[in-house]
Amino acid sequence: MNDSLPQQLKEILATSYNNDAEKFKTDIQAYLSGLDNPNNTNGQYEQPKSGDVILNSPTPKPNSDLNREIIVEVSHVNKIYRMGGNDLKALNDVSLKIAKGEFLAIVGPSGSGKTTLLQLIGGLDKPTSGEIIVNKLLLNKLSSLELSNYRNLTIGFIFQLFYLQPYLTVTENVAIPLMFRNDATDIYNTAQKVVKSVGLEDRSDHLPKQLSGGQMQRVAIARALVGQPLIIIADEPTANLDKHTATEIIKLLRAINNDFKTTVIIVTHDNNVANMADRIINMSNGEII
């Protein structure tokens, strides 16, 4: 465990809750409420400064002010997959607005269309109908090349299975988005800084196989973060992690969201994870319910 974590948080993280999620949630919320108090006796909560290690930032409170600029606008989107001659409707007239800097959780059973929605917002796919506008860009109209640039500059992806390249070191993995950027300079130094910010500076030259699951996901987060995207899209980022690590990862995403005002859209099955979001939307059968 990181030594620079606040003592109270360390104690919470060190406690064995025996799958008692409610107790863990209560403790965390108590801790977070303590942070809300500017006069808290721990004296550990400060506004993050530039260059702070994100992992060491205390978990920020959820955003409550959502009357901000809309960065993602999904309007009446339908997505139909043709599979073996049959049409499969993955999304059915989905409309959604996401504010800049919002931490949004999308929950729902498997096959409910949440990953499809992520893919459409992430520019990996195009809707069958409807419109998706991200940062004033109408994704439907973008060419393949423009979509590549959009993904590179606007989106940071975090995958459930991390998808780190096994032959690249931590720093090199993190640098991947910058490698595909025309004007990127000094990419390894930049990546190194981001690696440090997620608390893995002592692992920067390691290969993924030398890391734990939590560390790999932190590398994946650093990779998503390195290009300073407006939006981080995380598809089940904690599904392959134990509860303790999952909590740390979500905390990290929250800290990023708080520090950099990066919009985070996370798909999860885990209610505990979802509860840490500013807003939760539920999906079922391709619709937001």
Partner: protein
């Protein structure tokens, strides 16, 4: 757009994780390359040698008149054949001669090293069956005191002859009187020189005492033997014309009667050293019966026999090279199939990786760039492996068969010697090497193009769908 150094990094890192498969693919590429390169190296090496042998065969300053009206260096051909002595002028150098000379001594076990008792400073043309010439400095040791190879002794032409002529005499009977030896010697020289007249006296030469002879003939030309060069240790006189040659100075070569020598004798090469091409041309001009015309010696003319023999060599080498390059080419084409299957397999195994790259903004061209570099890594490693192994094979072949082939070629070419290359089967034809390198890489790019096209068109969404 990814920068080349980054795509190179991604490709090389990936390449390194699949060493086994990649090296296997590279080895299959190398197989064709090895066969082609071994032949290219060997043919270039042999061609260089053959060229060198033929070039050494001609000199700009020496001319040999042979017994049967043969032209210089032409072997058993008539004198109407043209020959060009200037083509190879630039190829001859003083320094090479030392090596050549020592090469003869060591390789052929000829005892010619005694000629090299003093530093060799003059350019010298070595011999074939038809031509031999030795500069003064090499024969000065064997010229009697107070005599010179270049002086005119009251109208007598100074000559230097093989010592084995005398040995023959001495073998007859060691107890013969000097006069009897003289008579026998005349008999032997008559055999070589035709109707000759010989007078002689004893002269001292170093620690041994030899006879000084004067030979004359009915041709009214007197010869004075001013020295003997040792040939007793030459085992096979037929391969060394020097053993059966009579060397005359250049001024003597211009005496009309001398040209009759070769018409009267049967087994003797008369060798004259000329000061320049001009003096040789002058000589030839004065002996039109033996040479087609002075104009034949112009720079643009060629020695047909030599050229034709050289062309035969070159043709055989070319044909062999063609066959082997064909076989190697087929193997190279087969090896491109391995590159194709390797790339296919690698791309099958890398779908998620490609999807991740695409998700993070890689363009289709970025993916192409990475995997083309990957394919080129395979082909370049294959080329490197092929080059190293081909060189090794060339060296081994040279060590095993170099001497045999060298002597065979020398004899076939009717040439005795040239400097023997260290590795006969290693010639470096840079142009062919470069062409092969380009072809190998083009084949690799062609073989990889289909799999890479598939990779570039891979739908990035596949990555997320598979979760």
């Amino acid at each position: 757009m990814i920068k080349p150094k980054n795509s190179f990094k991604l490709a090389t890192r990936k390449f390194a994780t699949r060493k086994g498969r990649n090296i296997f693919s590279s080895c299959t590429v190398a197989l064709g390359i090895i066969i082609i390169l071994v032949m290219l190296f060997a043919s270039a090496g042999v061609k260089d040698l053959v060229t060198s042998l033929f070039k050494d065969n001609l000199s700009t300053h020496y001319l040999a008149l042979t017994t049967q009206g043969q032209c210089v260096a032409g072997g058993a051909t008539d004198c109407k054949n043209k020959f060009n002595l200037n083509d190879f002028k630039s190829q001859h150098s003083d320094t090479s001669f030392v090596n050549v000379w020592q090469s003869i001594s060591s390789e052929f076990n000829y005892n010619l090293a005694i000629f090299a008792g003093k530093p060799i400073t003059s350019s010298t043309q070595l011999h074939s069956l038809a031509i031999t010439a030795v500069p003064d400095i090499l024969i000065s040791d064997f010229i009697a005191p107070n005599y010179s190879f270049n002086d005119n002794y009251q109208g007598a032409v100074p000559i230097i002859i093989p010592k084995n002529y005398l040995i023959d005499v001495e073998k007859i009977d060691a107890n013969l009187t000097d006069q009897e030896k003289l008579n026998k010697s005349q008999e032997i020289l008559n055999k070589y020189l035709g109707n000759t007249y010989l007078v002689g006296e004893t002269i001292n030469h170093g620690s041994s005492e030899v006879l000084k002879y004067e030979i004359g003939s009915k041709l009214k030309t007197k010869f004075i033997i001013v020295g003997f060069y040792p040939t007793s240790l030459i085992p096979d006189v037929e391969t060394a014309a020097i053993s059966s040659s009579i060397i005359i100075p250049s001024w003597a070569a211009t005496i009309p009667e001398i040209s009759d020598i070769y018409s009267k004798s049967k087994d003797v090469n008369v060798i004259s050293e000329f000061d320049s091409n001009q003096s040789r041309n002058d000589f030839v001009k004065k002996n039109p019966l033996n040479f087609s015309s002075a104009s034949d010696l112009s720079n643009s003319s060629y020695n047909t026999p030599i050229l034709s023999r050289y062309e035969i060599f070159a043709g055989v080498i070319q044909a062999l090279r063609g066959v082997v390059i064909f076989i190697g080419g087929i193997l190279l084409l087969i090896s491109t199939l391995f590159i194709f299957t390797t790339l296919n397999k690698i791309i099958d195994d890398s779908k998620k990786e490609i999807g991740v790259y695409r998700a993070f903004g890689a363009l289709k061209n970025d993916i192409r760039q990475i995997y083309y570099i990957y394919a080129l890594l395979i082909s370049n490693l294959g080329f490197l492996i092929g080059l190293v192994i081909a060189l090794a094979i060339g060296i081994l072949l040279s060590l095993a068969f170099g001497n045999t082939v060298y002597y065979a070629l020398a004899n076939l070419g009717n040439n005795a010697v040239s400097s023997k290359p260290l590795f006969l089967f290693i010639g470096i034809p840079l142009d062919s090497l470069l062409i092969l390198y380009i072809i190998v890489n083009i084949l690799a790019i062609l073989a990889a193009s289909l799999p890479i096209r598939r990779a570039a068109n891979l739908d990035p969404i596949q990555v997320l769908r598979d979760e």
